[in-house]
Amino acid sequence: MNRMAALMLAVATAVVLFGSPLWAVWSLVIAVAAAWYLDPPAVRAGLRVGVVFGVIFAAAVTAAVVAWAEGPERGLMVGGTVLLRLLVLTVAAAVLVRRVDAEALLRLTARLGFERLGLVLGLALNALPRIAEASGDVWTAYSMRSRGLVDRLRRLPGLGEVLLAHTARVAEEAAAAASLRGHSALTRPRIDLPLPVRMVIVTGPVDSGKTETVLALADRLHLEGVPLAGFVQIGERQSGRKVGFRLCDITSGEEAALAIFGERSDGDFGTRFRFLDEGFQLGREALARVQPGGVVIVDELGPVELRGAGHMPAVQRAVKVPGLAGAVVVVRRPLVPALLAALEASDAVVVDVERQGDDSVELILSALNVRR
Protein backbone atom coordinates (compact mmCIF):
# COMPACT_ATOMS: atom_id res chain seq x y z
CA MET A 1 0.00 0.00 0.00
CA ASN A 2 2.88 2.33 0.84
CA ARG A 3 4.45 1.65 -2.54
CA MET A 4 1.17 2.43 -4.25
CA ALA A 5 0.92 5.74 -2.37
CA ALA A 6 4.53 6.63 -3.24
CA LEU A 7 3.86 5.80 -6.90
CA MET A 8 0.72 7.96 -6.89
CA LEU A 9 2.67 10.84 -5.40
CA ALA A 10 5.39 10.51 -8.06
CA VAL A 11 2.86 10.31 -10.89
CA ALA A 12 0.89 13.28 -9.55
CA THR A 13 4.10 15.31 -9.36
CA ALA A 14 4.98 14.44 -12.95
CA VAL A 15 1.45 15.16 -14.20
CA VAL A 16 1.26 18.52 -12.47
CA LEU A 17 4.51 19.59 -14.13
CA PHE A 18 3.91 18.27 -17.62
CA GLY A 19 0.13 17.82 -17.88
CA SER A 20 -2.56 20.36 -18.75
CA PRO A 21 -3.56 23.03 -16.16
CA LEU A 22 -6.94 21.33 -15.64
CA TRP A 23 -5.21 18.18 -14.46
CA ALA A 24 -3.23 20.20 -11.93
CA VAL A 25 -6.21 20.42 -9.54
CA TRP A 26 -6.68 16.65 -9.52
CA SER A 27 -2.94 16.12 -9.26
CA LEU A 28 -2.82 18.31 -6.16
CA VAL A 29 -5.68 16.38 -4.55
CA ILE A 30 -4.05 13.02 -5.35
CA ALA A 31 -0.61 14.20 -4.24
CA VAL A 32 -1.84 15.56 -0.91
CA ALA A 33 -3.91 12.42 -0.25
CA ALA A 34 -0.98 10.11 -1.06
CA ALA A 35 1.43 12.24 0.98
CA TRP A 36 -0.98 12.33 3.91
CA TYR A 37 -1.28 8.54 3.78
CA LEU A 38 2.50 8.14 3.69
CA ASP A 39 3.53 10.74 6.27
CA PRO A 40 1.01 13.20 7.81
CA PRO A 41 3.64 15.13 9.85
CA ALA A 42 5.63 15.70 6.64
CA VAL A 43 2.62 17.30 4.95
CA ARG A 44 2.00 19.53 7.97
CA ALA A 45 5.69 20.51 8.03
CA GLY A 46 5.81 21.12 4.28
CA LEU A 47 2.72 23.28 4.15
CA ARG A 48 3.65 25.68 6.94
CA VAL A 49 2.51 29.27 6.78
CA GLY A 50 5.80 30.77 5.59
CA VAL A 51 6.15 28.29 2.73
CA VAL A 52 2.53 28.67 1.60
CA PHE A 53 2.88 32.46 1.76
CA GLY A 54 6.02 32.29 -0.45
CA VAL A 55 4.20 30.05 -2.97
CA ILE A 56 1.18 32.38 -3.09
CA PHE A 57 3.48 35.38 -3.55
CA ALA A 58 5.31 33.72 -6.48
CA ALA A 59 1.99 32.73 -8.08
CA ALA A 60 0.58 36.24 -7.61
CA VAL A 61 3.63 37.88 -9.25
CA THR A 62 3.35 35.51 -12.22
CA ALA A 63 -0.41 36.12 -12.47
CA ALA A 64 0.12 39.88 -12.43
CA VAL A 65 2.72 39.78 -15.21
CA VAL A 66 0.61 37.51 -17.43
CA ALA A 67 -2.55 39.54 -16.70
CA TRP A 68 -0.73 42.69 -17.81
CA ALA A 69 0.46 41.03 -21.03
CA GLU A 70 -2.39 38.68 -21.96
CA GLY A 71 -5.40 39.89 -20.01
CA PRO A 72 -6.86 39.14 -16.56
CA GLU A 73 -8.39 35.81 -17.52
CA ARG A 74 -5.13 34.32 -18.70
CA GLY A 75 -3.31 35.82 -15.75
CA LEU A 76 -5.67 34.12 -13.34
CA MET A 77 -5.28 30.80 -15.15
CA VAL A 78 -1.47 30.86 -15.23
CA GLY A 79 -1.23 32.13 -11.62
CA GLY A 80 -3.51 29.30 -10.49
CA THR A 81 -1.43 26.72 -12.35
CA VAL A 82 1.78 28.02 -10.76
CA LEU A 83 0.15 27.89 -7.33
CA LEU A 84 -0.93 24.26 -7.79
CA ARG A 85 2.39 23.16 -9.25
CA LEU A 86 4.42 24.70 -6.46
CA LEU A 87 2.13 23.23 -3.81
CA VAL A 88 2.49 19.71 -5.25
CA LEU A 89 6.29 20.12 -5.44
CA THR A 90 6.33 21.29 -1.82
CA VAL A 91 4.30 18.31 -0.59
CA ALA A 92 6.42 15.82 -2.57
CA ALA A 93 9.62 17.40 -1.24
CA ALA A 94 8.38 17.32 2.36
CA VAL A 95 7.71 13.57 2.15
CA LEU A 96 10.96 12.81 0.34
CA VAL A 97 13.09 14.80 2.79
CA ARG A 98 11.78 12.87 5.79
CA ARG A 99 12.29 9.51 4.04
CA VAL A 100 15.95 10.06 3.16
CA ASP A 101 18.39 10.17 6.07
CA ALA A 102 22.14 9.70 6.27
CA GLU A 103 21.96 5.99 6.99
CA ALA A 104 19.55 5.31 4.14
CA LEU A 105 21.83 7.28 1.89
CA LEU A 106 24.91 5.35 2.98
CA ARG A 107 23.11 2.06 2.37
CA LEU A 108 21.99 3.22 -1.05
CA THR A 109 25.41 4.50 -2.13
CA ALA A 110 27.11 1.35 -0.83
CA ARG A 111 24.64 -0.79 -2.78
CA LEU A 112 25.36 1.22 -5.91
CA GLY A 113 29.12 0.94 -5.37
CA PHE A 114 29.62 4.60 -4.42
CA GLU A 115 30.65 4.09 -0.80
CA ARG A 116 33.03 7.04 -0.80
CA LEU A 117 30.33 9.35 -2.11
CA GLY A 118 28.10 8.21 0.75
CA LEU A 119 30.86 8.98 3.24
CA VAL A 120 31.41 12.40 1.71
CA LEU A 121 27.70 13.18 1.99
CA GLY A 122 27.69 11.83 5.57
CA LEU A 123 30.65 14.09 6.38
CA ALA A 124 28.75 17.02 4.87
CA LEU A 125 25.73 16.27 7.07
CA ASN A 126 27.89 16.03 10.17
CA ALA A 127 29.84 19.18 9.35
CA LEU A 128 26.77 21.25 8.53
CA PRO A 129 26.04 22.41 12.12
CA ARG A 130 29.68 23.39 12.61
CA ILE A 131 29.85 25.32 9.34
CA ALA A 132 26.49 26.96 10.06
CA GLU A 133 27.62 27.99 13.55
CA ALA A 134 30.90 29.40 12.22
CA SER A 135 29.00 31.26 9.47
CA GLY A 136 26.72 32.79 12.10
CA ASP A 137 29.69 33.93 14.21
CA VAL A 138 31.52 35.41 11.22
CA TRP A 139 28.35 37.18 10.07
CA THR A 140 27.80 38.65 13.55
CA ALA A 141 31.39 39.93 13.69
CA TYR A 142 31.04 41.36 10.16
CA SER A 143 27.77 43.12 11.03
CA MET A 144 29.18 44.61 14.23
CA ARG A 145 32.39 45.86 12.64
CA SER A 146 30.86 47.27 9.45
CA ARG A 147 29.52 50.82 9.51
CA GLY A 148 27.40 51.81 6.54
CA LEU A 149 26.95 50.29 3.11
CA VAL A 150 30.36 51.29 1.74
CA ASP A 151 32.17 49.80 4.71
CA ARG A 152 30.09 46.62 4.41
CA LEU A 153 31.00 46.21 0.74
CA ARG A 154 34.66 46.90 1.51
CA ARG A 155 34.71 44.20 4.16
CA LEU A 156 32.82 41.63 2.05
CA PRO A 157 35.94 39.87 0.65
CA GLY A 158 37.23 39.61 4.22
CA LEU A 159 34.00 37.90 5.27
CA GLY A 160 34.37 35.34 2.48
CA GLU A 161 38.05 34.89 3.22
CA VAL A 162 37.51 34.09 6.91
CA LEU A 163 34.67 31.67 6.15
CA LEU A 164 36.60 29.86 3.42
CA ALA A 165 39.76 29.61 5.54
CA HIS A 166 37.71 28.19 8.41
CA THR A 167 36.12 25.67 6.06
CA ALA A 168 39.56 24.62 4.80
CA ARG A 169 40.76 24.10 8.38
CA VAL A 170 37.73 21.93 9.16
CA ALA A 171 38.45 19.93 5.98
CA GLU A 172 42.07 19.41 7.12
CA GLU A 173 40.85 18.24 10.54
CA ALA A 174 38.37 15.87 8.90
CA ALA A 175 41.13 14.44 6.70
CA ALA A 176 43.42 14.03 9.71
CA ALA A 177 40.63 12.33 11.67
CA ALA A 178 39.94 9.95 8.79
CA SER A 179 43.61 8.98 8.65
CA LEU A 180 44.16 8.81 12.40
CA ARG A 181 41.20 6.51 12.92
CA GLY A 182 42.15 4.52 9.87
CA HIS A 183 38.76 2.85 9.60
CA SER A 184 37.17 5.10 7.06
CA ALA A 185 36.69 3.84 3.53
CA LEU A 186 37.93 7.25 2.44
CA THR A 187 41.46 6.24 3.38
CA ARG A 188 41.29 2.72 2.01
CA PRO A 189 43.11 2.29 -1.27
CA ARG A 190 41.11 0.78 -4.09
CA ILE A 191 43.75 -1.91 -4.48
CA ASP A 192 45.47 -3.43 -1.43
CA LEU A 193 49.17 -2.86 -1.95
CA PRO A 194 51.86 -4.86 -0.12
CA LEU A 195 53.17 -3.02 2.94
CA PRO A 196 56.58 -1.69 1.88
CA VAL A 197 57.81 -0.76 5.34
CA ARG A 198 56.43 -0.57 8.89
CA MET A 199 55.57 3.08 9.12
CA VAL A 200 54.97 4.83 12.44
CA ILE A 201 53.80 8.42 12.42
CA VAL A 202 54.58 10.34 15.59
CA THR A 203 52.37 13.37 15.94
CA GLY A 204 51.14 15.92 18.47
CA PRO A 205 50.94 19.66 18.99
CA VAL A 206 53.94 22.01 19.16
CA ASP A 207 56.10 21.41 22.27
CA SER A 208 54.23 18.21 23.17
CA GLY A 209 57.45 16.16 23.33
CA LYS A 210 57.69 14.60 19.86
CA THR A 211 61.46 15.08 19.58
CA GLU A 212 62.08 13.83 23.13
CA THR A 213 59.99 10.74 22.32
CA VAL A 214 61.99 9.84 19.21
CA LEU A 215 65.28 10.48 21.04
CA ALA A 216 64.16 8.09 23.80
CA LEU A 217 63.14 5.64 21.09
CA ALA A 218 66.54 5.94 19.44
CA ASP A 219 68.23 5.11 22.76
CA ARG A 220 66.04 2.04 23.21
CA LEU A 221 66.64 0.83 19.64
CA HIS A 222 70.38 1.39 20.06
CA LEU A 223 70.35 -0.75 23.22
CA GLU A 224 68.44 -3.44 21.31
CA GLY A 225 71.16 -3.41 18.66
CA VAL A 226 68.90 -2.20 15.86
CA PRO A 227 70.81 -0.28 13.14
CA LEU A 228 69.62 3.32 13.10
CA ALA A 229 69.72 6.21 10.66
CA GLY A 230 68.06 9.58 10.51
CA PHE A 231 67.95 12.90 12.24
CA VAL A 232 66.10 15.09 14.71
CA GLN A 233 65.48 18.81 14.41
CA ILE A 234 66.10 20.72 17.60
CA GLY A 235 64.52 24.11 18.13
CA GLU A 236 66.87 26.98 19.03
CA ARG A 237 65.56 29.59 21.43
CA GLN A 238 66.72 33.03 22.50
CA SER A 239 64.98 34.68 25.47
CA GLY A 240 62.32 31.98 25.29
CA ARG A 241 61.54 32.77 21.65
CA LYS A 242 62.12 30.21 18.90
CA VAL A 243 64.72 31.62 16.49
CA GLY A 244 65.52 28.60 14.34
CA PHE A 245 66.28 24.89 14.08
CA ARG A 246 69.43 22.77 14.10
CA LEU A 247 69.55 19.35 12.52
CA CYS A 248 71.28 16.57 14.46
CA ASP A 249 72.37 13.25 12.91
CA ILE A 250 71.07 10.51 15.23
CA THR A 251 73.99 8.14 14.69
CA SER A 252 77.00 10.50 14.53
CA GLY A 253 75.65 13.31 16.73
CA GLU A 254 76.88 15.81 14.12
CA GLU A 255 74.87 19.04 13.99
CA ALA A 256 74.23 21.75 11.41
CA ALA A 257 72.04 24.83 11.25
CA LEU A 258 68.86 24.13 9.25
CA ALA A 259 66.53 27.10 9.52
CA ILE A 260 66.51 30.66 10.80
CA PHE A 261 63.31 32.39 11.78
CA GLY A 262 62.69 35.46 9.64
CA GLU A 263 59.96 37.87 8.74
CA ARG A 264 56.98 36.34 7.01
CA SER A 265 57.70 38.15 3.77
CA ASP A 266 61.27 36.94 3.29
CA GLY A 267 60.88 33.26 4.22
CA ASP A 268 61.57 30.35 1.88
CA PHE A 269 58.88 28.04 0.45
CA GLY A 270 56.17 30.45 1.66
CA THR A 271 57.15 29.90 5.33
CA ARG A 272 58.56 32.23 7.96
CA PHE A 273 61.94 30.45 7.89
CA ARG A 274 65.04 30.84 5.79
CA PHE A 275 66.51 27.40 5.17
CA LEU A 276 70.21 26.60 4.95
CA ASP A 277 71.73 24.09 2.54
CA GLU A 278 74.14 22.74 5.16
CA GLY A 279 71.20 21.46 7.24
CA PHE A 280 69.61 19.69 4.26
CA GLN A 281 73.01 18.27 3.25
CA LEU A 282 73.53 16.74 6.71
CA GLY A 283 69.97 15.39 6.58
CA ARG A 284 70.71 13.67 3.25
CA GLU A 285 73.92 12.16 4.63
CA ALA A 286 72.12 10.92 7.76
CA LEU A 287 69.38 9.27 5.72
CA ALA A 288 71.88 7.70 3.33
CA ARG A 289 73.20 5.56 6.24
CA VAL A 290 70.00 3.53 6.36
CA GLN A 291 70.61 -0.26 6.35
CA PRO A 292 68.48 -3.35 5.68
CA GLY A 293 66.97 -4.53 8.99
CA GLY A 294 67.35 -1.07 10.46
CA VAL A 295 65.01 1.74 11.39
CA VAL A 296 65.02 5.24 9.95
CA ILE A 297 63.96 8.14 12.18
CA VAL A 298 62.88 11.45 10.61
CA ASP A 299 62.04 14.34 12.94
CA GLU A 300 60.34 16.14 11.38
CA LEU A 301 58.65 16.70 8.02
CA GLY A 302 56.61 19.83 7.38
CA PRO A 303 54.88 21.77 4.61
CA VAL A 304 58.18 22.19 2.73
CA GLU A 305 58.59 18.43 2.42
CA LEU A 306 54.95 17.96 1.49
CA ARG A 307 55.62 20.18 -1.52
CA GLY A 308 58.31 17.69 -2.53
CA ALA A 309 61.23 19.87 -1.40
CA GLY A 310 63.54 19.88 1.64
CA HIS A 311 64.23 16.41 3.05
CA MET A 312 61.48 14.71 1.05
CA PRO A 313 63.54 13.23 -1.85
CA ALA A 314 66.03 11.72 0.62
CA VAL A 315 63.20 10.37 2.85
CA GLN A 316 61.45 8.81 -0.14
CA ARG A 317 64.70 7.10 -1.13
CA ALA A 318 65.35 5.91 2.44
CA VAL A 319 61.95 4.26 3.00
CA LYS A 320 62.36 2.34 -0.25
CA VAL A 321 65.60 0.64 0.83
CA PRO A 322 64.96 -3.12 0.52
CA GLY A 323 64.69 -4.91 3.86
CA LEU A 324 64.22 -1.77 5.92
CA ALA A 325 62.54 -2.82 9.18
CA GLY A 326 60.66 0.37 9.87
CA ALA A 327 60.38 4.13 9.57
CA VAL A 328 59.41 6.59 12.27
CA VAL A 329 58.35 9.98 10.96
CA VAL A 330 57.39 12.99 13.05
CA VAL A 331 54.76 15.30 11.59
CA ARG A 332 52.14 17.74 12.87
CA ARG A 333 48.56 16.44 13.05
CA PRO A 334 47.04 18.38 10.14
CA LEU A 335 49.76 17.15 7.79
CA VAL A 336 49.35 13.41 8.55
CA PRO A 337 47.08 12.53 5.60
CA ALA A 338 49.17 14.48 3.11
CA LEU A 339 52.36 12.85 4.41
CA LEU A 340 50.91 9.35 4.13
CA ALA A 341 49.88 10.12 0.57
CA ALA A 342 53.28 11.60 -0.29
CA LEU A 343 55.11 8.55 1.07
CA GLU A 344 52.64 6.23 -0.67
CA ALA A 345 52.15 4.42 2.64
CA SER A 346 49.36 1.88 2.36
CA ASP A 347 49.16 1.52 6.14
CA ALA A 348 50.65 3.21 9.16
CA VAL A 349 50.41 3.33 12.94
CA VAL A 350 49.82 6.83 14.27
CA VAL A 351 51.09 7.61 17.77
CA ASP A 352 49.90 10.88 19.26
CA VAL A 353 52.37 11.78 22.03
CA GLU A 354 49.91 14.15 23.67
CA ARG A 355 47.35 11.37 24.08
CA GLN A 356 49.70 8.45 24.70
CA GLY A 357 52.11 10.33 26.99
CA ASP A 358 54.73 8.06 28.58
CA ASP A 359 53.46 5.01 26.71
CA SER A 360 54.46 6.48 23.35
CA VAL A 361 57.90 4.81 23.13
CA GLU A 362 56.51 1.38 24.01
CA LEU A 363 53.74 1.80 21.46
CA ILE A 364 56.21 2.70 18.73
CA LEU A 365 58.45 -0.23 19.64
CA SER A 366 55.57 -2.69 19.50
CA ALA A 367 54.42 -1.23 16.18
CA LEU A 368 57.90 -1.56 14.72
CA ASN A 369 58.29 -5.10 16.12
CA VAL A 370 62.08 -5.02 15.79
CA ARG A 371 63.16 -5.95 19.35
CA ARG A 372 65.79 -8.65 19.37
Binding site: L17, P21, G46, G54, F57, V61, T62, V65, V66, W68, A69, R74, V78, V82, R85, L86, L89, A92, A93, L96, V97, V100, R116, L117, V120, L121, L123, A124, L125, A127, L128, I131, A132, S135, P157, G160, E161, L164, A165, T167, A168, A171, E172, A174, A175, A178, S179, L186, T187, F269, G270, R307, P337, A338, L340, A341, A342, E344, A345, D347
Partner: protein, 194 residues
Protein backbone atom coordinates in the same frame (compact mmCIF):
# COMPACT_ATOMS: atom_id res chain seq x y z
CA UNK B 1 47.22 5.34 1.41
CA UNK B 2 45.40 7.77 -0.80
CA UNK B 3 45.27 11.45 0.06
CA UNK B 4 41.79 11.95 1.46
CA UNK B 5 41.94 15.73 1.43
CA UNK B 6 40.28 16.25 -1.97
CA UNK B 7 37.29 14.30 -0.63
CA UNK B 8 37.07 16.16 2.68
CA UNK B 9 37.68 19.55 1.05
CA UNK B 10 34.96 18.88 -1.53
CA UNK B 11 32.61 17.75 1.26
CA UNK B 12 33.25 20.80 3.41
CA UNK B 13 33.21 23.39 0.63
CA UNK B 14 30.06 21.77 -0.76
CA UNK B 15 28.60 22.00 2.75
CA UNK B 16 29.45 25.70 2.95
CA UNK B 17 27.92 26.29 -0.48
CA UNK B 18 24.82 24.26 0.40
CA UNK B 19 24.46 26.12 3.71
CA UNK B 20 24.71 29.50 1.93
CA UNK B 21 22.18 28.37 -0.69
CA UNK B 22 19.78 27.09 1.95
CA UNK B 23 19.96 30.17 4.19
CA UNK B 24 20.89 33.26 2.17
CA UNK B 25 19.55 31.67 -1.01
CA UNK B 26 16.14 30.90 0.44
CA UNK B 27 15.95 34.40 1.92
CA UNK B 28 16.77 36.20 -1.34
CA UNK B 29 14.46 33.97 -3.41
CA UNK B 30 11.50 34.29 -1.05
CA UNK B 31 12.17 38.03 -0.72
CA UNK B 32 12.30 38.27 -4.55
CA UNK B 33 15.42 40.42 -4.30
CA UNK B 34 16.69 41.79 -7.60
CA UNK B 35 19.82 40.07 -9.00
CA UNK B 36 19.27 37.12 -6.62
CA UNK B 37 20.62 34.64 -9.18
CA UNK B 38 23.74 36.73 -9.63
CA UNK B 39 24.29 37.09 -5.87
CA UNK B 40 23.98 33.35 -5.28
CA UNK B 41 26.03 32.61 -8.39
CA UNK B 42 28.90 34.72 -7.06
CA UNK B 43 28.71 32.99 -3.66
CA UNK B 44 28.94 29.60 -5.37
CA UNK B 45 31.77 30.78 -7.57
CA UNK B 46 33.74 31.87 -4.53
CA UNK B 47 33.39 28.42 -2.92
CA UNK B 48 34.27 26.54 -6.13
CA UNK B 49 37.28 28.62 -7.20
CA UNK B 50 38.72 28.60 -3.69
CA UNK B 51 38.21 24.84 -3.44
CA UNK B 52 39.90 24.27 -6.79
CA UNK B 53 42.89 26.44 -5.83
CA UNK B 54 43.34 24.68 -2.49
CA UNK B 55 42.86 21.21 -3.97
CA UNK B 56 43.84 21.35 -7.63
CA UNK B 57 42.42 17.93 -8.51
CA UNK B 58 39.97 17.33 -11.35
CA UNK B 59 36.51 16.46 -10.08
CA UNK B 60 36.54 18.32 -6.75
CA UNK B 61 34.18 21.05 -8.02
CA UNK B 62 31.73 18.47 -9.34
CA UNK B 63 31.79 16.62 -6.03
CA UNK B 64 31.20 19.88 -4.13
CA UNK B 65 28.25 20.52 -6.43
CA UNK B 66 26.80 17.09 -5.63
CA UNK B 67 27.14 17.83 -1.90
CA UNK B 68 25.53 21.26 -2.26
CA UNK B 69 22.61 19.81 -4.25
CA UNK B 70 22.23 17.05 -1.68
CA UNK B 71 22.05 19.53 1.19
CA UNK B 72 19.71 21.80 -0.71
CA UNK B 73 17.32 18.98 -1.61
CA UNK B 74 17.38 16.50 1.21
CA UNK B 75 18.45 18.35 4.29
CA UNK B 76 16.80 21.68 3.94
CA UNK B 77 13.74 21.00 1.89
CA UNK B 78 14.46 22.92 -1.28
CA UNK B 79 12.77 20.94 -4.04
CA UNK B 80 12.31 23.66 -6.63
CA UNK B 81 14.34 22.59 -9.63
CA UNK B 82 15.69 26.07 -10.45
CA UNK B 83 18.39 26.44 -7.78
CA UNK B 84 19.25 22.74 -8.01
CA UNK B 85 19.84 22.97 -11.75
CA UNK B 86 21.71 26.23 -11.15
CA UNK B 87 24.09 24.59 -8.65
CA UNK B 88 24.69 21.60 -10.95
CA UNK B 89 25.35 23.80 -14.00
CA UNK B 90 27.68 26.07 -12.05
CA UNK B 91 29.70 23.17 -10.62
CA UNK B 92 30.01 21.62 -14.08
CA UNK B 93 30.98 24.92 -15.75
CA UNK B 94 33.69 25.75 -13.20
CA UNK B 95 34.98 22.16 -13.25
CA UNK B 96 35.32 22.09 -17.04
CA UNK B 97 36.80 25.59 -17.28
CA UNK B 98 39.33 25.07 -14.49
CA UNK B 99 40.36 21.64 -15.78
CA UNK B 100 40.73 22.91 -19.35
CA UNK B 101 42.81 25.88 -18.20
CA UNK B 102 44.97 23.72 -15.88
CA UNK B 103 43.80 25.75 -12.90
CA UNK B 104 44.77 29.20 -14.20
CA UNK B 105 42.89 32.48 -13.54
CA UNK B 106 41.43 32.39 -17.05
CA UNK B 107 39.62 29.20 -16.01
CA UNK B 108 37.99 31.04 -13.11
CA UNK B 109 36.92 33.85 -15.45
CA UNK B 110 35.52 31.50 -18.11
CA UNK B 111 33.84 29.33 -15.49
CA UNK B 112 32.29 32.43 -13.95
CA UNK B 113 31.12 33.66 -17.35
CA UNK B 114 29.43 30.37 -18.26
CA UNK B 115 27.89 29.74 -14.86
CA UNK B 116 26.30 33.17 -14.56
CA UNK B 117 25.45 33.52 -18.25
CA UNK B 118 23.25 30.44 -18.01
CA UNK B 119 21.22 32.05 -15.18
CA UNK B 120 18.77 34.00 -17.39
CA UNK B 121 18.30 31.02 -19.72
CA UNK B 122 17.73 28.75 -16.77
CA UNK B 123 15.18 31.19 -15.38
CA UNK B 124 13.28 31.16 -18.67
CA UNK B 125 13.39 27.37 -18.70
CA UNK B 126 12.03 27.13 -15.17
CA UNK B 127 9.36 29.71 -15.96
CA UNK B 128 8.29 27.57 -18.90
CA UNK B 129 8.29 24.42 -16.75
CA UNK B 130 6.40 25.84 -13.77
CA UNK B 131 4.22 28.55 -15.29
CA UNK B 132 3.98 27.56 -18.96
CA UNK B 133 4.77 29.23 -22.26
CA UNK B 134 2.33 32.10 -21.68
CA UNK B 135 4.29 33.27 -18.68
CA UNK B 136 7.47 33.18 -20.77
CA UNK B 137 5.95 35.23 -23.57
CA UNK B 138 4.50 37.68 -21.01
CA UNK B 139 7.91 38.03 -19.40
CA UNK B 140 9.50 38.69 -22.80
CA UNK B 141 6.87 41.32 -23.55
CA UNK B 142 7.56 42.89 -20.18
CA UNK B 143 11.25 43.06 -21.09
CA UNK B 144 10.42 44.65 -24.46
CA UNK B 145 8.28 47.27 -22.73
CA UNK B 146 10.99 47.98 -20.19
CA UNK B 147 13.66 48.44 -22.87
CA UNK B 148 11.31 50.66 -24.89
CA UNK B 149 10.88 52.89 -21.83
CA UNK B 150 14.65 53.48 -21.73
CA UNK B 151 14.76 54.41 -25.41
CA UNK B 152 15.60 50.99 -26.87
CA UNK B 153 12.25 50.26 -28.49
CA UNK B 154 11.93 47.77 -31.33
CA UNK B 155 14.45 45.28 -30.02
CA UNK B 156 13.49 41.66 -30.57
CA UNK B 157 13.20 39.45 -27.45
CA UNK B 158 16.10 37.27 -28.58
CA UNK B 159 18.35 40.34 -28.77
CA UNK B 160 17.29 41.49 -25.29
CA UNK B 161 17.86 38.03 -23.79
CA UNK B 162 21.25 37.76 -25.52
CA UNK B 163 22.26 41.12 -24.10
CA UNK B 164 21.20 40.03 -20.61
CA UNK B 165 23.10 36.75 -21.02
CA UNK B 166 26.28 38.53 -22.09
CA UNK B 167 25.96 41.15 -19.32
CA UNK B 168 25.47 38.57 -16.56
CA UNK B 169 28.25 36.49 -18.11
CA UNK B 170 30.63 39.43 -17.88
CA UNK B 171 29.63 39.97 -14.26
CA UNK B 172 30.36 36.27 -13.77
CA UNK B 173 33.78 36.57 -15.42
CA UNK B 174 34.65 39.48 -13.14
CA UNK B 175 33.29 37.47 -10.22
CA UNK B 176 35.49 34.53 -11.20
CA UNK B 177 38.60 36.72 -11.12
CA UNK B 178 37.47 38.24 -7.82
CA UNK B 179 37.00 34.72 -6.43
CA UNK B 180 40.51 33.85 -7.64
CA UNK B 181 41.88 36.87 -5.77
CA UNK B 182 39.98 36.02 -2.57
CA UNK B 183 41.15 32.39 -2.87
CA UNK B 184 44.75 33.66 -3.02
CA UNK B 185 44.18 35.57 0.22
CA UNK B 186 42.69 32.44 1.80
CA UNK B 187 45.75 30.43 0.76
CA UNK B 188 48.08 33.03 2.28
CA UNK B 189 45.99 32.99 5.46
CA UNK B 190 46.41 29.21 5.60
CA UNK B 191 50.15 29.47 5.03
CA UNK B 192 50.01 27.94 1.56
CA UNK B 193 52.30 29.05 -1.22
CA UNK B 194 50.31 31.10 -3.73
Amino acid sequence: MRDVRPWTYAALFGTLWGAIEATLGTAVYLGKLPLRGTIMGLAGLLCLVCLRRLQPRPGVCLLAGVVAVFLKVFTLGGFYPGPIIGIAVQALAVEIAMTASSGRPIGAAVGGFISLATNPLQRLGMMWLVAGSEAVSSYLRLLQEATARVGLGGLRPVVIISAIVVATGLVGAAGGLWAWWVAGRVMRRLGERV
